[in-house]
Each structure stands twice: as C-alpha cells, then as structure tokens.
Amino acid sequence: MMKLNLWIGLLLIGILIGLWATFRIYTVGFSLYAKTDVLVWTLPLSTYIFFSLTSAGLAFVSSFPVVFGIKRYEVIEKRTVYLELAVLIGSFVCLILHLGSPLKVIYILLSPNPSSPLWWLAVLYCAYFVLLLSAFWRIHTGKISKTLGVLIFLIAIFTSTTLGWLLGMTDARPSLNASFFSFYFPLTGLASGAAALILFSMVSAQLSGQGVPEEKSALYNEFARLMGIIAGMVAVLFLWRTISGGISSTAVEYSAFKHMIGSIPYNIEFWLGLVVPTILMLSPSIRTTVWGKVTASVLLLVGMFAGRLEFVLSGVIRPLGQMAEGRPEIVSYMPTVYEIFVALFGLSVMLLIYTIGERYLKLETIPE
C-alpha cells in the first residue's frame, strides 16, 4: 500500500508539473517550446503519435478474440481494452498541448473540411473514444460486445492509416510523404501496442506478488514471440525506408532524413528499439523469462518513442522556401524543458488512469 501511495504521489507530481506547464504555455505562448517557424512539429506531437499508434496497436491485439475468434486471448481482453483507453487519453493530453488554440476545436464540427485528413482523424478519434468507453463498460459488466470490438478494430485501422494519409499529403516534404506510411504506422503501432501490453501485464503480475499465473504463462510467451516477429518485420521495413529514402534517393528534399540517419533518435529506434528486442524475443530461453519480456518490451517502447520523434523531425528540420532565408540547410533541435513536461504530462495521466484501473477495476477478470 505504501508503494502504491508513493507511485500515485509521483504520478500526481508529474500531472501537477504538466498543469503548470500548460498554464505557462497558454499564458506566455508557444515560444516556450524549442520551436522556430521551421520546427513547427516537435516532441509534443511526436509523443501524441507514439501514444495514438500504441493505442491503435492495442486495439489490434484486443481484436484477436473478438474479431478473429482467437479465444485464448480473452483472458487479457479487459486489460488490453483498458490500457488502450488510458493510452488514448494520454495521447489526447499531448495533442491538446500541441494545438495553439485548442478551444476552437468546436469548428471541426461547425466548419468541417472533409478533404482534410486531419478533420477525418478528429472525427475518428471522437468515435474511437466513445466506442472504447462503451466496450470497456461492457467488458467490466461481464460481457464482450462483438459489434463494438469490430467497430474499434476498423476505427483503429482507419486512424493509423489516416495518419499515413495526413503525412502523405505533404508533397513538398517527401521524408513524411509516402503511402508506405499507411502500412508502416499500423505495423509499428502493433509493435508498440504489443510491447505495452506485455510490459504492463508483467509488471502488474510481479507487483501483485503472485507472479504470472500458470494458465496465462504460455499465452504471454506466444505473444512475446509475436512481438519479436513484428519488431523484426518493422526492422526490415525500416531498413528499406533508410535505403530508398536516405541512401539511394538523389532528391534534395530527402536531405533532412539523410541527416537523421546519423542521429541519436534514429539509432535508438533501430538498434535498441528493433534489433535487440527481435533477437531477445526470438530466443526461447530469454523469451520465456519475465525479465526478458520486460527488457524487450521496454526497449521496443523506448525505440518507438524515439522513432516517432525521428520521423517528425525528418519532415521539418529542412527549411522550405522563404523559411530557408538566413537559416542553415538543416536546423538543429533540442527539446525544451516545457516540451519534456508535456510528454511527461501525457505519460503521467496515462499511468495514473491505468493504476486506478489496476487497483479498482479488476483488470485480470475474464469476460464471458
């Protein structure tokens, strides 16, 4: 109990810091972010992408029993859906703090623009949130709704692929622009979703003092292997992205991505986030251990987090048109303390929601 109170206290401190940062950002202005007119999208947005794709990935996992009829995954369904909800709310926190005038989002309803992928994302996220709440409520009251499960699965596909469309529209920034990302995003989302589920399940089991229940152990081992396979697939795609856009392309517009190849986020993403987890999870002796699963899932999540930042920066660090006047060919970026606080705010909210669920909502319950 003491440890739980300490943990909740830490999360509340994170939230208080986030609220203070919010107050400062909206009173002083977004100049508190390490932004110039060139770096328009940075850490708050990449954190939002990380959370939202992780949430979509969890939706894919939650669809295993409901949509694809793999009944043995029903034992982790409640935890998966709740974690999905918590992660989605964390993503909303970061998204709101990315927007210059969040109170005007009402104009998404009053003045809609269906030609905008951003408009579609906003609509899909509203529906996603409501459906997810309803689905969790049904599971909490003991039943799994197939209809809600299918709808959530479809919306998760559309949100993650629409994000690919959103960036695919930017003809002038080919580092962001490829229909390839409409496939890359759901797959990487599934990787981070799987990692999040394994990490939270393992930590919850260890903190309960009873360890991983015997009947779930085989399932987690199987799921860890799946996570390793997905991480390997992402690593291959990632390499081809590097080769086609970063090495073999002669287009000057790719110079930003070429620059990112040597960067810290890029190398964290590839080596720590993809290569190491793949090796760990494809080795049976490591995969079956709790520490192996925890290490691989933490590394994968850290790698994906760094990867989202690498991806966003590769689209913005090269100034375009008149923005390039008086600026270097590539603009450097280091997040400010306020940007870090925003990411911390989103993470703290997500973790607090999850902790409350773990404590009071019996997430290990198996629905009918």
Partner: protein, 241 residues
C-alpha cells in the same frame, strides 16, 4: 468574378525591400513574421560569383495544399482566387505550415509586437518607453497601427494562430492595389485579373516566358516571375577542353 494574380519582374526589381516594409505597415505584421519576404541565392565559384534575389509572398495557389489540409476551413479560397485565413476558426495545428511548399505561413508563437509592450525607457525620465509611445499616439499594440486591416481580418492576430499574406484583400475589395504593389518604386510588381485576356498581367505573361516556384508540385501558384536582372555580357566562346 476576377481571378487575381501577380507578376514580379525580376529585371525591374532592385531588391530594395519596400514591398516587405510597406506590407508590415499595412498589415500590422509582428516581428519575426514575414508576409512579404525574399529568397537570396549565390551561384558560381569565387571569383566568378553572382547574387540572385527573388521576392516572395503567399502564392495564392489554385490547388492550395494549405486549404486542402485545414480541418476547419480557417484557410480557404475566396471567389477572386485569394487564399484567405480566418483566425477565428484556426485551431493552431500548423498543418498548413507543414503542407505549404513555399514556407510563407507563420505561426504566432507569442503575443504580437512584444517589443512595443516594454515599459522600460532607454534613459529613465528622459525618453519614453515603447509602451508609453504606443499610448501617446493612440495606437493599438503598435504606434503605426493600421485600422483598415481590421476590416476583413483581426488588425493584429493573437497568439496560437497562423497568418500569411492575403494579397491585401481589404484593399482589393475597395479596388485598390495590394500595398506592396503600390509601394514598389521600380514597378516590378504587376497585379491584375488572370481571367481578363487584356489585363496587364496577361499581357506580360504572353510577352515573356514566366516561371512559378516549384511548379512541378502542381499547386498552380498565382504569383508569376518574368525576366531576370543581368547587366553582364561575355565574350563569344565555345568553351575549351
């Protein structure tokens, strides 16, 4: 309904910056924001180098990527071809800035004209502070505030929204030329109706071979460039090995 366009004659342009300064005054543009700007380039290798100067502004593209991507239609097209922005609907997502290939859209990271808010005077009790200066002349935020800008757009844009050139829509509405066109001492900017075959704009486009920025992207900019400034000549040659 006319479809407005601008021709910039690079032979006439002397790079004086009158367009940018008059634009700032007309539209109360804040520090760090450039509705009217330039791209400068140098070419060649020392000692054979040349300097190129291209004035830039919003291209008011027919296929404007900023308009297509704006989730709330804050960025929108007027019937006369002008790409307009409504700060009241702008949520500050900056997707238009990501979509614009020309880098002409700016975000208000903080309150506009911060230096004019300062209460510090250079010499205490002798010179007035910027804030006192604004108060004395009855300006709104800046001493040279132009209230006419307020007719179609907030005179000074608040923080958290984007802004950009509007081809001086408030002036065009009253049959006046955009301020940068009027202020150009070399008459290097020519403004008119692209749908009128007899307009000066069309006469120039028919006479010279125009180019537009990043035409391959298919955005159909309404800002055309003609000619180039070069007084240089060179002895006739076939080169050598």
């Amino acid at each position: 309904m006319p479809r407005y366009a601008m021709v910039i004659d690079l032979q006439r342009c002397v790079g004086c910056g009158s367009c940018s300064i008059s634009c700032r005054n007309e539209n109360n543009v804040s520090e760090g924001i450039y509705w009217s700007h330039k791209i400068t380039e140098t070419s060649g290798k020392f000692p054979n180098v040349r300097y190129h100067y291209i004035p830039t502004l919003c291209n008011h593209c027919t296929n404007a990527p900023c308009v297509r991507g704006c989730p709330t239609r804050a960025m929108h097209k007027l019937d006369n071809g002008i790409t307009m922005h409504d700060p009241k609907k702008c949520i500050g997502c900056r997707y238009c800035m990501i979509n614009c290939p020309y880098g002409v859209i700016y975000f208000n990271w903080k309150d506009a004209h911060p230096s004019w808010k300062s209460g510090n005077s250079v010499i205490q009790g002798v010179t007035s502070s910027p804030a006192e200066e604004v108060r004395q002349v009855g300006g709104k935020g800046i001493p040279y505030y132009n209230p006419e800008r307020n007719e179609t757009l907030p005179g000074i844009r608040s923080k958290g929204v984007v802004e950009k050139c509007t081809f001086c829509d408030h002036r065009v509405k009253e049959d006046k030329l955009p301020r940068c066109v009027e202020a150009c001492p070399a008459d290097a900017r020519i403004f008119g109706d692209l749908d009128d075959p007899k307009s000066e704009v069309n006469q120039l486009l028919g006479k010279f071979r125009p180019f537009r920025l990043k035409e391959a992207l298919g955005t159909e900019p309404a800002v055309f460039y003609i000619r180039d400034f070069s007084a240089a000549g060179y002895p006739r040659t076939k080169g050598g090995i």
